[in-house]
């Protein structure tokens, strides 16, 4: 097992005692964050004599490692030397995961095909070309429930369009017409919509890009992943029930 260090100059030496505890590790960070984040957790890693420090920043969680003496800070990713498992990435994904049940699906535009067993929720902007591609690809899958959370963040036009879709009689059709066929929604954007609340919600999760999506496991991903990549993830997160 090794620490693979990806950045030169990432070491910081603080003259502290030879054998540290969590409080000492905490002190390494305190006073240096200057409002850019807060310490969320400090704990020993299960795979070596290091502490993991998670800083909650506006962009989401950031992982640091600190040696057992609290004298060296390591910025980088830890891999299992044998299996190549990326410990840091696994932790990062756990840290950015949400509880599926906590997602505001009452604000979603939901469509179901087949038995609907595979579930995905997507923060999607109507003017994001990759959202169009991703949703278009997902539309070719059977046995799936797709929850579109209209995340109108790319510009004022997006907000207006998303609200008009929400105010349409058939939201699924109005959304697909807009996103896939560039047919503008005809409804007036003047009903009670969750569009502004969703923009706030997404920002609170640090979702600074679209599409950002969640599997039933709560794991979070960004970007228009290919169907070949996303299909096994969907199957894994939403296994067939017997």
């Amino acid at each position: 097992m090794i620490m693979r260090l990806l950045l030169a100059g990432a070491f910081f030496s603080a003259a502290l005692s030879a054998r540290a505890d969590e409080a000492a590790v905490r002190r390494v960070f305190e006073g240096k964050l200057r409002g850019s984040g807060a310490i969320e957790t400090v704990q020993k890693v299960p795979w070596g004599d290091l502490y993991e420090v998670v800083i909650r920043s506006p962009e989401g969680p950031v992982i640091y490692y600190v040696d057992g003496a609290a004298s060296v800070v390591i910025v980088g990713q830890a891999f299992d030397a044998k299996s190549g498992r990326n410990f840091t990435e696994e932790r990062q994904r756990k840290l950015t995961a949400v509880k599926w049940d906590s997602l505001p699906l009452q604000w979603a535009i939901t469509s179901k095909r087949g038995d609907g067993r595979r579930k995905i929720a997507i923060l999607s902007d109507p003017n994001c070309p990759y959202c169009k591609r991703f949703e278009g690809d997902l539309a070719t899958l059977d046995d799936i429930t797709v929850h579109i959370l209209p995340y109108a963040v790319l510009g004022p036009k997006s907000t207006q369009q998303a609200k008009a879709v929400w105010c349409s009689k058939n939201r699924v059709q109005a959304w697909n017409d807009l996103v896939q066929r560039r047919v503008e929604p005809q409804a007036a954007p003047d009903c009670d919509t969750p569009v502004d609340k969703l923009a706030e919600y997404g920002r609170s999760l640090g979702a600074n890009s679209t599409p950002t999506w969640f599997l039933e496991s709560g794991e979070r991903y960004s970007g228009a992943m290919s169907l070949d990549e996303v299909r096994p993830l969907l199957d894994q997160a939403s296994p067939a029930k017997r």
Binding site: L7, G76, G155, R220, Y221, E229
Partner: protein, 149 residues
Amino acid sequence: MSRWILAAALLAVAVEVSAVNPAELLDPQDAFRISARALDAHTAVLEFRIATGYYLYRDRFRFETEAGKIIANAELPSGKVKEDPFFGRIETYRDYVRIKVPLSDANIAQKRMRLKVISQGCADIGVCYIPQEQWVEVKLDNASRRESP
């Protein structure tokens, strides 16, 4: 801020991308690095260094003064034009873009300009970022020193 705090923000740069996930995607401020300086007594220059595989939309730039007034006469160079059957005519910048912003009389009097720059871009791996707001400050003393060594 400590250098290692910054280093962690840059961490994603060094990670090999195999699939897209939040841990691997660059933060917008790292994908689109901004800097500003005075060009001459009347003009400031903004430069964006854009990471490979990332791009900015020309028509999404906006510039505001500290008081929130929109600066309409910034000079944006032509971008790479794509006629998209879906989204229409799209002009984008890759790698590097240099934008000239005229200084106001107030800027010149105060020998400084503070500017809010709003930009929006995407990454080829399949995401678009929400618009990014960045503040830049240009001190005009440096420019005059540079002009008259």
